[in-house]
């Protein structure tokens, strides 16, 4: 840290602040000119405006037109027709139903499994680090590559899953990914494989932030394991649980890679997600206006959920109680 020469400061910001001992008044590094501030912000802001805000605004605009994306800007203004059509679109409504189902299963099955495993790995026992490392591995893998792997495991031509089941004496005649009634559950199984480790790590961090003194005190008062779990662990894990539910829902709304590569949304839309319908309409059928309306619907769903959730569910976590003192702001 040898910063000595004031002359090294770039030009265009007036005199550098090197008034050695001139006044005891505290001077922050800047009262730098507007030019300097702009220079710092400009690259990021430009990137953000051009590739985030402009596309989103453009989607919101195009959603009110019938447009195939070709031959100049959209001209065929149709008001809210695209949005009205969405509500009557069986595929879109199906996407919403499947989203609800996946979210319900995630909250009801996947997160509790992750929670249970976190409690397990919080205990001290030999080999615990190895298990913790291993359980996080699926989360590290690329979704699209995972999807190719599971496509082979659940392959219709007697894949690995069938061989496994046969080895324990179960003959399967199941089209894992081609049977409309089970494909979504198979996908949920794969999602659980991929993501439980992530939630588990968050729970583990949350659990480690609970002071052990609380348990010691409870033990002195004669509380049993079940009582401690219900009265200490569960309430103090609340903030972490609420965050993982939030992340899980937002992630499910945007689900694309895994399902697209695995089934393309089929058979007969049985595993289709919002993002796949949008892709299909936009890039497959050039219904840019309609697909944009769908994009905006996705955005609104995420936004409404996020605002609602932050307003009503995360609210108490943001008020800085004991439970958030260790909320991972390291």
């Amino acid at each position: 840290m040898t910063v000595k020469e004031p002359s090294a400061a770039p030009p265009g910001e007036g005199r550098p602040e090197g008034r050695r001992g001139a006044s005891p008044r505290r001077r922050p590094v800047g009262r730098p000119g507007a030019g300097t501030l702009t220079a710092f912000i400009a690259p990021g802001l430009l990137l953000f405006l051009l590739f985030v805000l402009l596309p989103v605004a453009f989607a919101a605009y195009v959603a009110f037109f019938r447009w195939n994306g070709l031959g100049g800007p959209p001209t065929d203004f149709i008001g809210f027709d695209n949005f009205r059509n969405l509500l009557g679109d069986d595929v879109f409504m199906g996407d919403m139903w499947r989203l609800t189902l996946l979210v319900a299963m995630s909250i009801g099955i996947q997160l509790p499994i992750a929670f249970g495993l976190a409690m397990l790995l919080h205990q001290r026992f030999p080999g615990r680090t190895v298990f913790r490392l291993l359980f996080f591995v699926p989360y590290v893998l690329t979704e699209a590559v995972t999807a190719v792997l599971f496509g082979l495991i659940f392959s219709p031509r007697r894949g690995f899953a069938d061989s496994m089941l046969q080895s324990i004496g179960v003959e399967t005649q199941v089209g894992w990914l081609s049977d409309r009634s089970i494909v979504l559950f198979v996908i949920f199984g794969i999602l659980t494989w991929k993501f439980f480790g992530f939630h588990m790590i968050l729970y583990l961090a949350g659990r480690q932030n609970i002071p052990e003194e609380l348990y010691e005190a409870a033990a002195i008062d004669g509380a049993g394991g079940a009582q401690m779990f219900r009265n200490i662990t569960l309430p103090l894990m609340g903030p972490t649980v609420r965050i993982t539910i939030f992340l899980s829902v937002i992630g499910t709304v945007q689900l694309f890679d895994l399902v697209f590569v695995l089934t393309g949304g089929g058979p007969f839309h049985a595993s289709e997600t919002l993002a796949i319908t949008m892709y299909d309409q936009g890039f497959g059928r050039n219904q840019i206006g309609y697909a944009s309306a769908l994009s905006i619907a996705m955005f609104v769903i995420s936004l409404v959920f996020a605002l609602f959730y932050q307003r009503y569910v995360l609210k108490r976590d943001l008020q800085g109680s004991l439970t958030t003192a260790g909320g991972g702001r390291s």
Binding site: V3, K4, P6, A9, P10, P16, E17, G18, R20, G21, P28, V29, G30, P32, T36, F40, P43, G44, L45, L47, F48, F51, V52, L54, P55, V56, A59, G69, G116, L120, F125, F131, L134, F135, V137, P138, V140, T142, A144, V148, L149, L152, S163, M164, S167, W193, G225, I243, Q254, F256, L274, M278, I288, S292, S295, I296, S302, L303, A306, G328
Partner: protein, 280 residues
């Protein structure tokens, strides 16, 4: 059950290990299937799906490892990930620096604007992005993937960096000012070196995000020249649909860089990937 008696303890430990091993099998089986399957031929895969390969057959792995397309895709993935990371961390650090240490009119509004970017799912923007990139003639160019990825990485990166920059004590800044440093010098010579741990965290986030990204490259890169690994794997599967063992070898090799990275930078990777969840 009282866990303090020896018998209770034994019971507890047994239950613990059973649950841990069942989960470990659940996690490891698909990966072992890919690893071992790559060493089998297709007949072995059909007749002996579960056991070890016999004989071991490295041909599929060597085929992939000697193919130009695999290495090109590795290079493309690495190049795009590094470029994305440099751009997003660089731009975000400068913006976060200004947000953290200077007061000026409109600062909070501007910060809110960036933070609002967290609300936009990437899929919402991909269609208009495609049209914009087409207009700028950035389709089939790595920049068409790098720039949007960097842009979408900005909000979280800025939020994390800003809170770190804020926490650096004012005395450090005063000392620099007394030594005559201007904002640029302070930023480059003092702030960034001090922020190394958090820069590592956000870099990991950006690297992994780019490495795993699929939808944007799928839309932007229609020609194989710039295909990244995820695109290459899905394409390879389509091409060799009947040659399962070969695809498994390719899948395994495509997963390997992430696994190696995880093995060596486990701590950074976990804290990086979970920071989005805990720093919200």
């Amino acid at each position: 059950m009282n866990v303090r008696t020896p018998r209770g303890k034994l019971l507890r430990n047994t239950g613990l290990y059973i649950a841990a091993f069942v989960t470990a099998a659940f996690v490891a089986t698909p990966i072992l299937f890919a690893l071992l399957g790559g060493f089998k031929d297709n007949q072995q895969l059909r007749e002996n799906a579960l056991g070890l390969p016999s004989p071991w057959n490295a041909e599929h792995y060597t085929d992939v490892l000697t193919s130009d397309s695999f290495w090109r895709q590795v290079f493309n993935s690495v190049f795009i990930a590094l470029a994305t990371t440099v751009i997003v961390v660089g731009c975000a650090a400068m913006v976060a620096f200004v947000f953290a240490r200077f007061a000026f009119r409109g600062r909070e509004a501007l910060f809110t604007l960036f933070a609002a970017g967290m609300m936009f799912p990437f899929a919402v923007a991909v269609l208009p992005l495609f049209i914009i990139l087409r207009t700028f003639e950035l389709l089939n160019s790595p920049l068409g993937v790098i720039l949007p990825q960097a842009a979408f990485g900005l909000p979280l990166t800025i939020i994390i960096l800003r809170s770190f920059f804020r926490a650096i004590p004012g005395e450090v800044e005063e000392a620099a000012v007394i030594d005559g440093a201007g904002p640029w010098l302070f930023f480059v010579k003092i702030l960034l070196p001090m922020a190394r741990p958090v820069l590592a965290t956000v870099s990991v986030l950006a690297l992994v995000g780019s490495w795993n990204s699929y939808l944007l490259p799928l839309v932007v890169l229609s020609r194989p020249t710039w295909w990244t690994l995820p695109l290459g794997v899905t394409q390879f599967q389509g091409q060799y649909a009947s040659d399962t063992a070969k695809v498994l070898a390719f899948v395994m090799l495509a997963m390997l860089p992430a696994l190696i990275f995880y093995a060596f930078a486990e701590r950074h990777l976990i804290s990086g990937l979970t920071s989005g969840g805990t720093k919200g």
